[in-house]
Structure formats: structure tokens, C-alpha cells
Symmetry: C2
């Protein structure tokens, strides 16, 4: 019988803490029965929730912690106060100690990154972490990174993101050689920031067997599904993601409003409601929940703070999958194959400049 | 009788040239009869189109030019080949010579900016041009700039954009003190690029009577209508705009597809088609057509290259409005009031740093 996937949960994370985390874990467990959970947090809040989910209770161990990181704590503050005391810290530490395969938190993003970086450390050759996300496209999902972990970054940083994103795509989409594009404001070679043009030259020069670099992608190309992986530094990635999410919500609102304004429209809505459900399902931000923190010596997944139990379950699914298919080994292979891909980026960089 | 608005058109610009530009101008003329047109381009292509629009013909003068700038010419190349020869150049030059109040082109954006900058020159204190756009929100439109004219920029550049965008909003929306936000990836003071945080400090310190600085705006806040003007450098602005446009198109596509998949849905669509028309109307990219180039000593408007006559007419409307309400004087007042707003930004900068 294969090994179970062991998931450490920060049960205090997110706007609703245990009341979302526990039922969310229960939903994910029903989809992946080969999971075990470590639940970190206030046992007085966790136990009553667990009591309502006997199968989860049977697959879980609760570890009481007194401290919970709040959403408005600065990373440095959270690290000072929450180190070796908080549910977030202990969930990450379980990965560090080899007691869990992945840690999941819906808590304060900055604090989660700071703690993960401090405790797990970065992979060799990687300077700064990235957050990945799934972006619904007309041809399935695309992986977009970085969605806001690190602002700015040189060509070397972008190449590292391309390698890690590609490793994740090969696991997630089960493809041999994912297509990878660099986010830019035009497809022409001359456009964009210098570091993006330089990263493009590097990726082309490296010509990797496990990554198909296809060139620049504009932000309206992500949803067209032109690449499996779209790479950008965190500022632009976050801007793109939120512009898309905002537009989707705005259109839904307009449509809902317009459909309620007359009886024929309301009847039309009833007849066609399957179509609206399909649309909502396609663009459901819950389904894209679960951002994998990449670049660390351990797996950490960030859930949206304001998500529902259903949404949190998707983040748990992501953590399950990444652990089950051993993303970390895949990334290490990617970074180290043929000597070292990142060292070869360095060589290519010297050749180019 | 008030002065007519004189509009110079690059009749060769865009994917379809005169066959879109001329009927587009005719539509706009029907909305603003107090307009006169100068049409620059190949008279053999313009005259037959004009013949189909007698009122426009009566309000127009055609000036034949031999050279048309193509969409794939680099700015430097276009400037070399098209200077004092092309329809684009002469449309801009008509503004320079005082023969027109505004120039409008659907041609090559890079070439248009290069020629406008070379011929009209920048306003004192402004280093680089910006392109503005209208962004549909739940509470009317917002002005977003820069949408891609200038990549990157320091705090001083962002403050200049805020001043010019605010002048444009006061003209376009007829408000005394438009609300202005800086695009960022979080609303907290500590987040984002240094130049954005610095621009925020400057705008706060300047405390201008004609501009209400409201803080950082995330890209999902633009569509919520949280500010009349949202300011960003051109890379992020372009990324945000295209992510939003792409998502809108994607959702429309999903919905159209889902609505055609069964008879009840198709009947539902027929009953509710007014709602879909309202949605399409709300999100119609044609209606947002017409990007004003700001920072120049003259008015220039850029239309999408692939637009229809209806879309081009919206760009002409924008040009008409900006000239009619004398945006340029408004911007000059904004930059020079109380000595000079930009000099006061400099002073504030010294005080801050």
C-alpha cells in the first residue's frame, strides 16, 4: 500500500479559522482518502468542528497552540511573536521536521512567506520565493507565477521561476515538456523591461529538453491558453490576476442585474440557468484557490483568507497533489539536471552579455 | 457662434485605413456638427469614401500624402521614412501649425508617439508621454494611465501622471476635484515598488486643491470605481488593461458557448437577449476607444488599429471633447498653478528624502 500524504494545517489561518479549515479538510479527505492531517491551533476551537466530521477526526491529530497570527501583523512582527509559538509556525515546522509532506495556511501571506523562508530556507540557486496560481483558460488551466511573493527581479530570477513553474506544470498537467511564456506588453522582441528581454534570451539559449519556451505572452493571452506556464515578477503578476478577477466579478454583477430587470429576462434566466452555472463554474475563484509557494526546501500552500470550506478544500487538494506527485523532487531535478540548469543560465548569461 | 473644433485625421492609420476612418468621422460628425476635418492620406482612397458621406464631405478638406506608416515599422524607422512625408506626420503637424485642435490616428502606436514627441515636444516638466484609457466601472468610467506609452518611471513621473490624469478627469467627468489613486498590489503603505510609495508621499504632501489623492488602488479596485483616476507606469497599466479585456472576452465566449448547448438555453437566451445586449454595451471595448496621449504640447488621440467605424467614431468623440473643453489649457493650469505643481513635487521630494 502506498504511503499516505501527510498534510499539516494551520487551523487558525484565514478570516474564519477552524470553522472553514476543518470542514474544508473534510471535503478534501472525501476526495483523497489516503490523507492524514496534523491540525495546529486552539484545540477548544478545533475539536468541536472535528466532532462534526468523524472520518476526518479519525485521520487527524490535533496539536494545541496558543498563538494565532492575525491578518494585519507585519511579517517581521509575526516572525518575532509567532516563531515557535503559533499555529502557522508549527504547521511549517512539521514539514521541516519531516512529520508532514506539505503545510497549508489561509493566514497572513507576508507572515507565511517570512516564516516559511526563515524555517525551511530557500533551494540552492533560488533567491526569493514565488506564489503560483491556476488561471482558467479556454483550453484548461494555466499556471501563472509569481502572483505577488516577490516584487521585481532580474533575468536570473525569471529563469528560476520558469524552471520551477515548468516542473509544477509537468506534475499538475502531466505533460512532458510544458510550454512556457514570459509575460510582457507586446510579443515583439524589442518590447518590455530589459530583464524580461534578457530572460527570453537566456531561456532560448538554454534550450532545455523539459521546457518549451514559446516567447512573450501578453496578459490577454493567458486566458487564451497560449502557454501552460506564464512567468512574471510578482508585481505585474498580482496586477494581472486581480484585474482579471475584478473583471469577472464585475461582469457577473452586470449580468445578474440586467437579468433581473424584466419578467421575460427572469424567465430567460430560469431556462438558461444551466449556462450561467457552467460559466460560474468555469470562472469560480474557489477552484483556483491554493497558491503553491515555490523556491523553498519544503512544500507550502497558501489559501485565500476569505474563502469558504469548499474553497479551502481546493487548496488542500492542491497540497495533496503536489505532495503525492512529489513536486519538490521534480523541481530539484529540474534545477540540477545536466549539472545545473541555473548554472547553465549563468553561463548563457555570460555568453549573451 | 462659438469656434468650431478642427480635427486632423490620419486617414491611412489602422488596419483598414480610409474605409474605417471616413465613416467613423461621419458618425462622430452627426453627434458633433460643430466639427471640421482635415483628412491626410491618399486622396484616391479617401475621396470615394467621402462621396458616400455628403455632410462629412462638406465639413472636410482632403490633403493628399504619398506615404503611409505601416503597423510593423519601428518608431525610429517610421520617423526617418515618415517625417514630412506621411499622413501621420501631417496630421500631427496640423496641430503643431495651429491648423487643427487635435490629431487622431489609428496607426502604429510607437510611431505615433515618436512623431508626436519629436514634432510637438513635451510640456515643461514632463519627461515622457503617457496614454490614457477609459475603464468601465460599476459607477461609470474611470481614467487609467499610463496604458503603455512609457515603461517604468520614478515618483516624479507618477506625480506628473496624477496631475495630468486629474486634469483630464475634471474635463471628461466635469468634477471639481477628481479622486486619484496609485495602482499597487496592496492597500497597505508598506507594499509595492519604492517609487510608488514615494509618489504616494509626494501626493499627500502636496495636498492639492484640484486633486483628491485617495491612496493605493489594487487592480480589482479599478472596476469597482474606487477612484476617478488610477495612475501607474505603462508596463503595469498595459498588463492590467489587457488582463481585464481578455477576461471580458473569455467570459463572453464561455457564455455564448454555454447558451447554445440546448433548446431551453437558446430560448432563454432569446427571452433575455436585452440583458446580454446591455452587458455587451457596458463592456464594449469600442466605447473605451480613444487613448489620449498626455504630456505633449498638443492634443493627439490614438485609436485601436483594428477597430470598426463605430469604434473609430468614439475616438473622434474623445478628440472632439478634449479639444472642445480645452484639455491642454487645463493641464497647463494644473501643472503651473501656485507657481508650479511639479516644482512643488520636487520640493516635497527634497523634504521627504
Amino acid at each position: 500500500m502506498p504511503k499516505k500524504v501527510r498534510i499539516a494545517l494551520d487551523a487558525m489561518g484565514g478570516d474564519d479559522g477552524a470553522s472553514v479549515v476543518v470542514p474544508g479538510a473534510a471535503i478534501s479527505l472525501s476526495r483523497h482518502p489516503d490523507t492524514e492531517f496534523l491540525l495546529f491551533g486552539d484545540s477548544k476551537l478545533i475539536e468541536p468542528e472535528l466532532a462534526a466530521h468523524p472520518p476526518l477526526k479519525a485521520a487527524s491529530r490535533v496539536i494545541h497552540t496558543d498563538v494565532a497570527i492575525s491578518n494585519d501583523e507585519k511579517p517581521s512582527q509575526a516572525l518575532r511573536r509567532g516563531r515557535k509559538t503559533s499555529s502557522m509556525w508549527f504547521a511549517i515546522d512539521a514539514v521541516k521536521q519531516g512529520e508532514a509532506d506539505v503545510a497549508i495556511s489561509a493566514g497572513n501571506t507576508g507572515a507565511l512567506m517570512a516564516m516559511a523562508r526563515f524555517n525551511l530556507r530557500m533551494l540552492p540557486g533560488i533567491d526569493r520565493p514565488a506564489i503560483t496560481g491556476l488561471w482558467p483558460t479556454v483550453r484548461g488551466d494555466a499556471i501563472v507565477l509569481d502572483l505577488g511573493a516577490t516584487i521585481g527581479g532580474d533575468a536570473h530570477h525569471l529563469v528560476a521561476l520558469a524552471l520551477m513553474g515548468s516542473a509544477m506544470a509537468s506534475v499538475r498537467f502531466n505533460v512532458e515538456r510544458p510550454t512556457v511564456g514570459l509575460l510582457n506588453i507586446g510579443r515583439e522582441e524589442m518590447k518590455g523591461h530589459e530583464e524580461i528581454r534578457e530572460a527570453a534570451e537566456l531561456l532560448r539559449a538554454m534550450n532545455l529538453p523539459q521546457l518549451n519556451y514559446i516567447g512573450f505572452v501578453e496578459s490577454d493571452g493567458i486566458g487564451k491558453g497560449v502557454a501552460d506556464v506564464v512567468v512574471t515578477e510578482g508585481y505585474a503578476g498580482n496586477i494581472a490576476l486581480k484585474a482579471a478577477e475584478g473583471t469577472a466579478r464585475q461582469m457577473e454583477g452586470f449580468l445578474r442585474n440586467a437579468l433581473s430587470q424584466s419578467w421575460p429576462r427572469r424567465i430567460g434566466y430560469l431556462l438558461a440557468r444551466g449556462a450561467f452555472r457552467a460559466l460560474r463554474d468555469k470562472m469560480d475563484p474557489n477552484k483556483s484557490n491554493g497558491g503553491v509557494l515555490l523556491g523553498l526546501k519544503g512544500l507550502v500552500v497558501k489559501s485565500h483568507g476569505g474563502t469558504s470550506a469548499e474553497g479551502f478544500a481546493y487548496a488542500v487538494d492542491v497540497g495533496y497533489e503536489m505532495a503525492h506527485y512529489d513536486l519538490l523532487t521534480k523541481i530539484n531535478q529540474m534545477l540540477n539536471r545536466d549539472g545545473s540548469a541555473l548554472a547553465s543560465a549563468q553561463t548563457a548569461q555570460e555568453a549573451v552579455s
